[in-house]
Every structure is written in C-alpha cells, then in structure tokens.
C-alpha cells in the first residue's frame, strides 16, 4: 500500500473528492495500513496505534500534513506489541488497547514509557485473540469482540473478570457503539474479497446469547464486500462504512438504527 494516511472528508463528500486535509509523513510515525483509530471529541484529538513501533499516537484533532503526535505511549513498560487497535472513553479519559487475549487500559494523558492502569486478562474473561474494543460510557460497558462473539464487560473490569453477558456467534469483529441507544454496530463478513456477503449488523448492549442482528446494513447479498471500518454520524442518523474491496467509504442513512 503506497501511502498510509488519515484523510479528512467533509460529511457531504461524494465521489472522487479531495480530502480537506491529510495526516501523513515522517513525523507522524505512521507505518503501513492503519488498522484502527479513535476520535476523542472532548479533547479534540485523534488516536492511532503505531504498528511497528508498538505505540499509541495522539494527534491534535486539526492535525494536517507531516504532523508529529502530541503524545506517544511507547516503551517497555507499556507492554504494547504489534499495536493495531485502540479505543477511547472520552468521558472517563481512558485509552483501551485490545492485544491478543488482553485489554490494556491507559490514562488519556499517558505519554512516553508508562504502564497500563488496568489490564483485563485471564481465562474467565473468555477473551479470544484478535479483537476490537469499544466503550459505552453511558451504560458503563466495555464491549470486546473476538472469535465472532461480542463480550460485554463492566467498563471498569480488570484482572480475570468474566463478562456480564456474551452475544454469541455474531461474526462481528470491527465495531462501534452508540452510547445513547446502546446499539452496537459490527461488521460481519464471509471472508472473501469479491462476494457480496458482508454487512453491518446491529445489536443491543442488552442482548445476550445467540441473537440475530436487529438490522443489517449494506447486505448481505447487496453491496458490501469487505467491511473494514464503521463509524456513526449520530446527529444525521448515518452509518458510515469503509470497504476494502470497493476501496470506498459509504454513507448509509439509517434512522431505524438510531431509534
């Protein structure tokens, strides 16, 4: 992949539009494909995992060009390795990094070689490898994906704590949550590059067990082929989805998912 970047597009951008700005360059410490990021609306900051230097990079929200991070969590105390995933709890000021079968939690102001303030790990957690995490600060929940399940923990869980409940066999891995409604939006895919088997599934944070998605967006058997990112424009009731095979960003207007 020729050019890693974080590009900003106007909400109404459509077609082959130019980005309004793009963060990229030597000072950014970006490596190859950026697999996750988080936007902190309270601090107006963007968080990016540094894959090759095992770091969590924080940029100003209006960063542009070859910008250096304003903070960088990196070093032996961090326990970070192959950092690809990150989530922010903007209300409680904490950074979450799922890493193999554990979730590391850092203070939002952490900078340099700092240790996590909490670690969720152990057999009772049921954490299953490469997953994502998203935080619902309203219901005080931490949702962790892995092995196709969505494991819902108390937000403050640490150590060998079991989940409160598990939505099983969702197939979802990448996800986000709307704290207002408690709706989880997760990608589900068939694994192929060209098949129309992907979609965004919608579950509730109150769901438990083998629960079918309440809604599916963009499929299956309709448009999406390889979903890689999901984010929400709550005000306009939009679900925004990136698709690797289409090499595109789609905006779906789905008021039904915000009720």
């Amino acid at each position: 992949m020729g050019h890693p970047q974080i590009a900003a597009f106007a909400r109404l951008a459509d077609g082959s539009t130019d980005a309004t700005r793009s963060i990229a360059g030597q000072n950014t410490n970006f490596t190859r494909t950026i697999h996750d990021m988080a936007y902190d609306p309270v601090r107006d900051e963007i968080l990016v995992p540094g894959w090759y230097n095992f770091s969590i990079l924080t940029f100003r929200g209006d960063a542009d060009g070859d910008a250096a991070p304003v903070r960088q969590i990196m070093g032996p105390r961090t326990q970070l390795v192959n950092s690809q995933r990150v989530a922010i709890d903007p209300v409680n000021g904490e950074i979450y990094v799922p890493q193999v079968r554990r979730v590391l939690v850092f203070d939002r102001d952490a900078d340099g070689d700092v240790a996590p303030i909490r670690i969720l790990e152990g057999p009772d957690t049921g954490l299953r490898g490469e997953g994502r995490v998203t935080i619902d600060p309203v219901h005080d929940l931490m949702i962790v994906s892995g092995g196709g399940d969505l494991r819902i923990f108390d937000r403050r869980a640490s150590g060998n704590t079991p989940p409160l409940r598990v939505i099983t066999d969702t197939g979802a891995s990448r996800m986000t949550v709307n704290p207002e409604s408690g709706m989880i939006f997760g990608n589900v895919g068939g694994g192929g590059r060209f098949g129309l088997d992907d979609y965004v599934g919608v579950w509730s944070v109150f769901d438990d067990g083998p629960v079918e998605p309440r809604l599916t967006i963009g499929g299956p058997n309709f448009l999406l082929k390889d979903v890689r990112g999901i984010t929400l424009d709550v005000r306009n009731q939009n679900v925004i989805v990136s698709d690797k095979t289409h090499n595109a960003i789609f905006t779906f207007n789905v008021p039904e998912a915000f009720q």
Partner: protein, 463 residues
C-alpha cells in the same frame, strides 16, 4: 454546574445527541514519579472541567445549548423492540446516500520498458496494472490519457500493486502486492483484461518493492512487516521457498520500502521509513521455529516480536552486498537530517552515473545521492517544486537507454519524465496523467478504519 451536568455535556458532545448516563465514581490517579501510573483496578471519575468542555463545545453559546438540552431524554435501559422483517429487508437493501471513491487509475509503482516503449504502472485504486505508450504526453487541457492495456479483475490476483518489474528480454511484467494477496504475479506483455497470470509465487506478507538481478536470475523483495529482504529465484513459482534472507538487528532495516540493485557494483540499496522493534530469532522460540511456513529462508514473523521493544529511527538508506544473507550489517548507511529523506518509498540506481535516486513521498521530492554516499550525506540534487509537478512521489525509475528519470506521483494521478540530470523545480519533458491535473482525489488505498469528527463534521478515513 453540577458534576452530573458535566457528564451529560461530555456525552452530548460525544454523541451530538441528548443522553443521560450513570455517574462514574471517585478518582485516584497520579504519576508515580517515573512517568508510570500506579492505579490498577480502580475506577476514575470522569475528566470534567470548563477547559475540556469548551474545547469540545467550541463556543460558550454551544456549550450552554448542550447543557440546556440535557435531561430531556434518558439513555436506554432496556433493549428496544426488534424491528419488523419488512423494516429489516428495507434497511438491508438501502443504497448508500454518498460514496467516496476514486475510479481513476493511480500510479503506485512504475517500471519502464524502453525496448518496447511502454510505461507499466501498478494501480492501487482499481487493483490493476496499466500500460501506456512511453511517449504519451497528456495535453494540459485533457482530463486524462487512455492506457494501451489494463489487467484487472478477480482472476488476476492483483490488489495493492506496489512493485512492478518489466523483464527487458521477454517483456514479461512482474507485480507484487503489499497486502492481503501474498502473491507475485507474472504476465506476458500482451496480457489484458480479467486474466490469470502466467505464473504466480507465494511471497511473505507485506512485500513492498522488488529488484531483479538478471545476471544471477534472482528477485529481491523488501518485506515491511518483517524488516527484511527475501531473495527468490527469478523463475520461482507457486510455493517455492526463498533462496536467501536478509533479516535481523544488525541489518538496521526499519520498515523497508524501496530496493534497487547496482549491477556494476553488486550492491543492494534499501530505503527505510524508520519504525521498528525487536523480535526473537532463537529457533527455540515457538514463533520462530519453522518460520511458521515450513519453508527455509522465510522471514521470522511479527509473532516473534518482543513487547515494548518498539522504536522510531530516522529514515535511512542501507546498503548490502547482493549475496548478503542472514543478520548481516549494512556496508553503509545514509541517514541524518542533511539527507532530506521523508518517507523514502522507492529508490533507483543509475550505474553509469554512479547515482541513486530516492522518491520521498511526503517530502514531495526526488533526492539524488552519489552511489557511494555514507552517513549524513546531503543530496547532490533535489528535484521538487510546482513546475516539477512532483506530488507524493512513490515510484522512481531510471531509463538507461533514453537517459530519462521517471517519477510516479500518487498525489496527482501522474507519471512525470525528466532529463536524468534534472535539478530543482525542473519542468517535466512529458506527463502521463490518469486524472485532472488539479485534483489529487481521495488517495484511498486499502481504506481501513474510519472515525467521525463531530466537531468539524468530517469523516476520517485511514489507509
């Protein structure tokens, strides 16, 4: 303002909607004097304060509007009713209202076939290879020039094509992908459309660029994830393993990208972006044992990485003998502020002039060095500026027959051609464009995670 209202305001800023949340508890957090926080397993209060909220709300008026809106609705405490099947079906087949996508070709990698007078480019937008007449010169008023041939489709095994080589003898095209499809594909020079390659070779994940030694019939590939160079037989196919590997801490490779071979000196030049970490190489380590593939000379993978060992170094050019193998130290390292390296993504050698050319993606430059440069060496020429049309250069090639320098500009849908001695803000001799000159487009390639900036109402998309 009471604490509960602050929580509401933060959540409102987060959601841009009305929300009521449970209040978290007390805070006990502080640095331990070593930059290490000492709170584990205890909860913290929300970070609240006028400065933070002002930053989020932007203006006092907005802040007050958000506060006044709080409390009018409650957060969900029970699962909502499930939608009807009719609603589900309608949502599942609802088309997007907007799509950000660039359907034009972009040039992520190039090679020149001066014998058959063609430019061959790897296109990351459309997962394709495009072939142009070498002498094409897109008029300034034209939207784009049509390629002669396009190889594209599900049968091609092409995806993020980032390395291209044209066999000077046969005209065969070699292509490597950087992600997902870990194959090198080989095509006859007349291939076009959705066709299978003549042959393909399994490669390590995240190959970036390649160089081929016609004298020894070997292919050298940089491997990003593994900070390594893998060497295969040129004729290798399917699951044939590499014949050599350059990998290890002594190599000083760090996120390697470009690679070029000087056939006169037998030296390999590798350009490095600079981020790296340590990994175990002891064969007793499970992640190292058998290289994960059962193939000899396969790179030790990131599964053997050592937690907390990440580091960032300045970008560099590392130089090796072409027969180097294992954890071999570079013969020379070009590195330092005088080098002007800035995401050095591709590199080319002019063996007769004794010069190396480096495409610096975010420096928007091509820097030229003596082939025997060492240390913090300043370039002997720098090609950059508005007249040069160089914008996010990610590919650079030397045409030894016509003594021309070619640059692939990811940021302007163009390949530009210069005299080999071009310097400064030189105007290109020719320009091949696949899109309008004044549009860089979204530059999406391997678009991955996304986020929504609620303050600016912007979509953040990552490559």
């Amino acid at each position: 303002m009471k604490a509960r209202q602050w929580v509401l305001v933060i959540t409102l800023i987060l959601c841009l909607s009305v929300t009521v949340g449970a209040l978290p508890q007390h805070e006990q957090l502080g640095p331990d004097g070593n930059g290490q926080t000492n709170l584990i397993g205890e909860e913290r209060t929300p970070e609240v304060g006028p400065e933070t909220l002002m930053a989020g709300a932007r203006t006092p008026e907005n802040l007050m509007a958000l506060v006044q809106g709080a409390g009018q609705a409650a957060a969900a405490t029970d699962p909502p009713p499930r939608p009807s099947e009719a609603v589900k079906a309608a949502v599942a087949t609802r088309p997007p209202i907007r799509t950000i996508h660039d359907s034009r070709h972009v040039f992520a990698a190039i090679d020149i076939d001066p014998i058959r007078n063609e430019l061959v480019a790897g296109d990351e937008n459309n997962f394709s290879i495009v072939v142009y007449d070498r002498n094409t010169n897109t008029p300034p008023t034209a939207a784009f020039s049509e390629p002669r041939r396009v190889i594209q489709g599900e049968d091609t095994f092409l995806e993020y094509v980032c390395g291209i080589y044209v066999d000077p003898g046969s005209g065969d095209i070699y292509a490597i992908n950087n992600d997902t499809l870990n194959w090198m594909t080989v095509w006859g020079r007349d291939a076009q459309g959705n066709v299978a390659p003549k042959r393909k070779l399994a490669t390590p994940h995240t190959t970036v660029r390649m160089a081929i030694d016609e004298a020894t019939q070997e292919i050298f590939m940089t491997v990003q994830d593994d900070h390594a160079v893998s060497v295969f037989r040129k004729a290798a196919q399917d699951e044939e393993p590499p014949v050599r590997l350059i990998q290890g801490p002594a190599t000083r490779m760090a996120d390697p990208h470009g690679i070029a071979l000087d056939p006169n000196t037998g030296l390999l030049y590798v350009s490095n972006w600079g981020t790296a970490a340590d990994r175990y190489y002891d064969e007793d380590t499970p992640a190292v044992f058998n290289r994960g593939t059962g193939k000899p000379n396969w790179p030790v993978s990131r599964l053997a990485n050592i937690p907390g060992s990440g580091r960032t170094e300045p970008p560099s050019i590392t130089v090796y003998r072409k027969d180097g193998a294992g954890n071999v130290a570079p013969i020379r390292v070009i590195q330092g502020p005088n080098t002007l390296l800035n995401w050095p993504t591709d590199i080319a050698v002019h063996p007769d002039r004794g010069e190396i050319f480096v495409a610096n993606d975010t420096g928007h430059t091509v820097t030229v060095y003596s082939a025997d440069a060492n240390g913090d060496a300043a370039p002997i020429r720098v090609l950059q500026g508005p007249n040069s049309l160089i914008k996010n250069p990610v590919g650079v090639k030397v045409d030894l027959i016509n003594d021309e320098l070619w640059v692939a500009n990811l940021g302007s849908h163009s390949a530009t051609v210069y005299d080999i001695t071009a310097d400064g803000d030189a105007t290109p001799k020719r320009v091949i464009r696949s899109g309008p000159a004044d549009s860089r487009g979204p530059m999406l390639a391997n678009v991955h995670t996304i986020a929504y900036d609620t303050l600016r109402e912007e979509i953040l998309g990552s490559n």
